[in-house]
Amino acid sequence: MRSFLATLLVVSAILTVMPAMAFEIDRPLDDPALEQRARDLSRSFRCLVCQNQSIFDSDASLAVDLRRIVRERIVAGDSDAQVEQFLVARYGDFVLLKPPLKPKTYLLWFGPLLIGVLAVAGVFAYFRGQRARAAAPEPLSADERARLDALLEDESDT
């Protein structure tokens, strides 16, 4: 009986400690509004290790560290822009999953629009050319004109 109790004690001790250990890695903030902000913000930063995952989604240890930093900055009273600034200063624009709009990225942002405009212009030009051809048939060549003249002359004789 005593050994059973001892086992129970050990097992329950392990069970209570285990979740606590799990939380050491990613401890959510007590204030749900701040925690929500931290999560939303974490979704907008690229994990530098896995590159196409956000730090919110990634399990890389750097992503865990960066999530902790995002929470710390928010608790310290940083605005979202300030947190962003903090990470960009260390890792550059690449850390942002949504690239910022600036002269270097104009081609990235407006390139698809440019290609769309060119495509529409191309389609217009093509159909206008076709209609113009249909409206004005090609002029007769010298050879054809001669044959036509000959035919007309034949007719006027009879």
Binding site: L48, Q51, L62, D65, A89, R90, Y91, G92, D93
Partner: protein, 176 residues
């Protein structure tokens, strides 16, 4: 107009082929540091070896210095280590180490085994200084000018080729 039917697809193909060819030689895993030509962010790390001096940002100006971020759990660090030993022997730069997210005892054992090329080693136990420096993996190696500004960051293990092509000329230039 009729000739365009032949020219346009050929031009589009050539353009795409050009992009793909260039893409073959890109290294998307290497993100150039945002700190190029900026002063080293301020930090002060405790020493890895007991009784030795720690490493602080203040140590990184006045002479050309190289800071290697390493860990005993990092296999590529082992690969580049002999080159760091050589660099230390050449004595052209101040060579420092940052032990990144490591158990200090493991790191000391690792250095006992492979040799310790570093003049000073700071222990960055929680990786905080690493983040301030924009480290996102080990090994990374910073090259810092006399003015205390970061000139270049090498990402991943240094190979013999990197050493000859990039690093030795860079060190020579910084030492001028």
């Amino acid at each position: 107009m009729r000739r365009l039917i032949y020219v346009v697809p050929a031009a589009v193909f050539a353009l795409l082929a050009g992009f793909f060819l260039a893409g073959l030689f890109l290294k998307p895993a290497e993100i150039p540091t945002a700190l190029t030509d900026k002063p080293v962010p301020e930090f002060a790390l405790p020493a890895l070896h007991e009784g030795a001096q720690g490493l602080a940002s203040a140590d990184l100006s006045g002479a050309v210095s190289v800071v290697n971020v390493f860990a005993s759990w990092c296999l590529p660090c082992r690969v580049e280590h002999p080159l760091l030993m050589e660099l230390a022997k050449a004595g052209t730069v101040n060579l420092y180490g940052i032990n990144y997210k490591d158990k200090s005892a493991d790191a000391r054992k690792w250095l006992d085994e492979l040799g310790d090329p570093f003049q000073r080693i700071g222990a960055d136990l929680d990786g905080r200084v690493g983040i301030d420096l924009g480290v996102y993996g080990v090994p990374e190696t910073f090259f810092i000018g006399r003015d205390g500004r970061i000139k270049y960051k090498h990402i991943g293990p240094i190979t013999v080729e990197d050493m000859e092509r990039r690093i030795r000329p860079l060190i020579e230039k910084l030492n001028q």
